[in-house]
Amino acid sequence: MKISFNINGAPQTVETDGNTPLLWIIRDVLDLKGTKFGCGKAACGACTIHVEGMQVRSCSYPAKLAEGKNITTIEGLSDGDNLHPVQQAWMEEIVPQCGYCQPGFMMATAALLEVNPNPTDEDIDNNIVNVCRCATYYRMRKAIHRAAEIKSANL
């Protein structure tokens, strides 16, 4: 079937089986490889994207549901060369180690800051539940608080 959606601000139409996870459309058809495959079971969060601004795990999101939606991936998080506050904070705190899970965490954090500009530690614990095997959680928490500061200072 034909599916049309906006991704990172640009319209796209793909021909695919509607049940194919959107993850594979993003990675293999549109060649946006920042969205990662980790488990394929919506368990690890490496494939986190935004659908209409909300965090969605694209490995368990059938492509057909994307019809007419606004999709954002890590490639569309920054505004051209201007990094998103979350990415700026990630740079400042030197968060990534292996880096594989980081796009998913940054997308989840960006979605959190949209609904909660100043999350508490508990808000972070309840909303950021991706898995990082290098266990960079300590710096991530600092970076999430820092991103909130940068974002509110930009307003």
């Binding site: 919506a42 965090q55 368990s60 999101y61 959190l112 309840n126």
Partner: protein, 210 residues
């Protein structure tokens, strides 16, 4: 509602609350079935038939496919062993998860058999006051029929929820788990269940003592 009924209802709710608190079976030696029936204000046309429907209906409503999302606390349950949902999933203010990590982060309008993630329209938790976890059949039924608890539904709307709500009927199309194994369905077929709910309701929506 008559004055006496209100009196009995108050006492009954009080005792129910205590019995739930101690997880013991509600003992209604002092209350006749008639009074309970009056509470539902439904005309009993065939008590035996209604109870027959009740038995069948309750085999479904006490099944994990229903109870996992009617939890007693602030955490949904999942799986055949009804373990607390992994990944610190919370009820959230609107029974829909945390604000930025809600049910729709993973669950959508239909099952995803590639990912093994279940889905249905309006995927969410039953409100906390509609908790069924740990309740007996009778307690579940009373809770379900209590307008204070059930969102002010009358019998007709309760039946509608039980027989037409897609999220409820998902129990017969529960998809596969992360390993591709089918999730267990309730022990009664969907058609038999719908017929049983109607049989129970149409014959007076009788709730037995035990």
């Amino acid at each position: 509602m008559k004055q006496t009924n209100l009196f009995y209802l108050t006492i009954m709710l009080f005792i129910m609350a205590i019995s739930i608190g101690f997880s013991s079976n509600f003992s209604s030696d002092n209350f006749s079935e008639k009074e309970l029936e009056e509470k539902t204000e439904n005309e009993v046309t065939d008590r035996a038939k209604s109870l027959e429907g009740f038995d069948k209906m309750m085999q479904v409503l006490t099944h994990k496919r229903c109870v996992n999302c009617h939890p007693a606390g602030d955490r949904p349950h999942q799986g055949e062993d009804s373990h607390v949902h992994n990944f610190n999933v919370q009820r959230g203010a609107s029974n829909f998860g945390a604000p930025a990590f809600n049910c729709n982060t993973c669950h959508h309008e239909e099952n995803n058999d590639i990912a093994g993630v279940p889905g249905a329209p309006e995927w969410s938790l039953a409100p906390r006051e509609m908790a069924w976890e740990g309740l007996s059949r009778v307690e579940i039924a009373r809770s379900m029929m209590d307008p204070e608890i059930n969102g002010n539904r009358d019998l007709e709307h309760v039946v509608e929820h039980l027989t037409e709500h897609e999220l409820v009927l998902w129990a017969w199309n529960p998809g596969v788990d992360n390993e591709g194994n089918p999730r267990e369905k309730p022990p009664v077929s969907k058609e038999d269940y719908i017929a049983a709910v109607k049989q129970w309701a149409e014959n007076g929506a009788v709730i037995p003592e035990k």
